[in-house]
Symmetry: C2
Subunit: 342 residues, 2 copies
């Protein structure tokens, strides 16, 4: 494991190494973390060096290759099983590992197995770039004309290979010189909005204003938010969507203020085996993320702390889900089913 | 200005000095700040060394006396005008300064003016203690039987002379061994919930759990919140209430989940000259409170930041306002008027 400081590309795989932009250090340090074995890749995903549902899938796919050119089927299979345990909620991780496993199981030639797996990981990465472009175009139709769009957490380029999901429509409009101003919730506890969304949008030249999560309601009441758009970590067959903690209250507030609420996610974020969102497992993380922001203690030791990383927004609060295939308006089991049947 | 470390009393006036528990240092340091002139008192209120609407009023009343025993009417009057500029939203500050000015204007004897002003400041302090007891008893009737009560910011003993306002009913029930478990929103940006509410409740032996502001909605959805109770910094004649930023979205979420939402505040928090809450001035504070929690930079310099310290919750989202005089159910201009007429 080593570090370098040359590019802002989220994920690079080169010379048999997984080279990640260390997102835990942004925005004050632009540092890369290079993983050379699966333990390091697992740790990088668990510690959120790389995060965001699509990016986790890509990183894990490349992570399998860290077993090396000479690894056998059993070693690759073990890597897939092991990397799948790095985070529990984002379904893209399991989707990527299933896809790598399917490729391995259907490829009989041991001599070319590494090459075949490498090709599949690159395909997952390439498809993600195309997904960002398509979500950008599909979502832009929904938010064009908005002066101010609010987002939560980071579902931008840092969460994917390129433009992201929730931010893709904004980058799409930005290419035309028509990007709205973006309000970025800081997104406690890990401040991905303050650190990552604010950083990547201002790097790209999109005007962005950071607020604490508690300020969104007042902004909506004063008419300053025209639409809300967020990503997702897992979407059930009925359209219920798990996303970063704090998304559900935003959806309730948007409904109360009659502001459209959109979710943007690739189709591989759907878990069609789950009929509804109440069955999505929610990751519980360490108390220090809440109690010690920036390493400074704020919560006294005598107090308890809860730290669920995600919440589930029921489909009835979601006006539309944007995927690379199009837009699911008023998501239900029927409309989601039709989207996948097309 | 000097420091001492002997007591957790919020405000003490002794030997002509204003001795404050430094709330900016809690919970990791129990430190006191002693003010000997009005500039120091103004700075302590502005920097939130002492905060909470009732405590600001008490501290400012004592602050006037820092002009000294030999000060003349003009000097005391200037102190009242000056201290009233330390914070813009909490009406208790202006109420306390008006009360001190009325006493001065009706007291002709210059030789005993300091003594008379001192007696008034002590009366304001003593009345606040009685107010805490009465709000505790009146509010306990509303929340008894609740297993879990959620609060925001700190409207406890640290915000007043004793039990506080929102926390007074909890302390009242705690004396009977019947306190509910308290969920304390951390309350970004200044984390008064994590630092102050969690500290004072755990010091008192009340079970408390800290969560980020973004987690309250999910807790409500899962049925874990039986009531919400908060303080207020200013209440208009129709019952609209200004309180710490993040209160308004909590009220919307409570309404959506059919959870009772209560405001607890003394009658001197009402500003009956204002017909509605949209005329309450909202303090805008420095970007670093959002951008650099704990002194660590999270928001890139290129991004804008907003930092309103308060929001206004409309009366229709408030099930009841608890004062030292009783309970105003379904607050409106009429029911608030009746409460003051009694």
């Amino acid at each position: 494991m080593s570090t370098a400081t040359d590019t802002a590309e989220t994920i690079i795989f080169h010379d048999g190494q997984l080279d990640l932009l260390d997102q835990t250090k942004l925005p004050t340090e632009l540092t890369r973390l290079v993983c050379t074995n699966i333990e390091q890749a697992h740790d990088a995903i668990r510690r959120l060096v790389v995060r965001g549902a699509p990016a986790i899938g890509i990183a894990a796919a490349y992570g399998v290759l860290l077993q090396g050119r000479d690894a056998d089927r059993q070693a690759f299979g073990e890597a897939m099983d092991y990397l799948a345990t790095s985070r529990p909620t984002a379904v893209n991780l399991f989707w990527a590992m299933d896809r790598m496993r399917d490729v391995m199981n259907s490829h009989d030639d041991d001599a070319t197995l590494y090459e075949r797996l490498h090709r599949e990981a690159v395909a997952i990465h390439d498809e993600d770039r195309q997904m960002c472009r398509s979500i950008g175009a599909n979502g832009a139709a929904l938010i064009q004309g908005c002066r101010n769009v609010l987002t939560h957490c980071n579902a931008g380029g840092l969460a994917t290979s390129m433009w992201g999901t929730a931010l893709a429509p904004i980058y799409h409009l930005h290419e035309q010189g028509k990007a709205p101003h973006v309000f970025a919730d800081e997104t406690r506890p890990l401040l991905q909005g303050a650190r990552l969304t604010a950083w990547e949008l201002s790097q790209a030249g999109v005007a962005v204003t950071v607020l604490t999560d508690s300020m969104s309601g007042g902004l909506m009441r004063s008419g300053q938010v025209d639409a809300v758009i967020v990503g997702a970590d897992r979407i059930a067959a009925n359209g219920d969507a798990a996303n970063k903690i704090g998304t559900y209250p935003l959806a309730v507030l948007a409904k109360y203020h009659k502001i459209p609420f959109y979710v943007a996610a690739p189709t591989n974020t759907f878990d069609l085996k789950l009929p509804a969102g109440d069955q999505i497992p929610i990751e519980q993380r360490h108390r220090d993320e809440v109690a010690r922001p920036g390493g400074v203690q704020f919560v006294p030791d005598a107090a308890d702390v809860i730290n669920p990383a995600f919440d589930v927004t029921p489909a009835e609060l979601i006006d539309a889900i944007v995927t690379e295939k199009g837009v699911i308006r008023s998501p239900t089991t029927e409309t989601v089913g039709q989207h996948f049947a097309n």
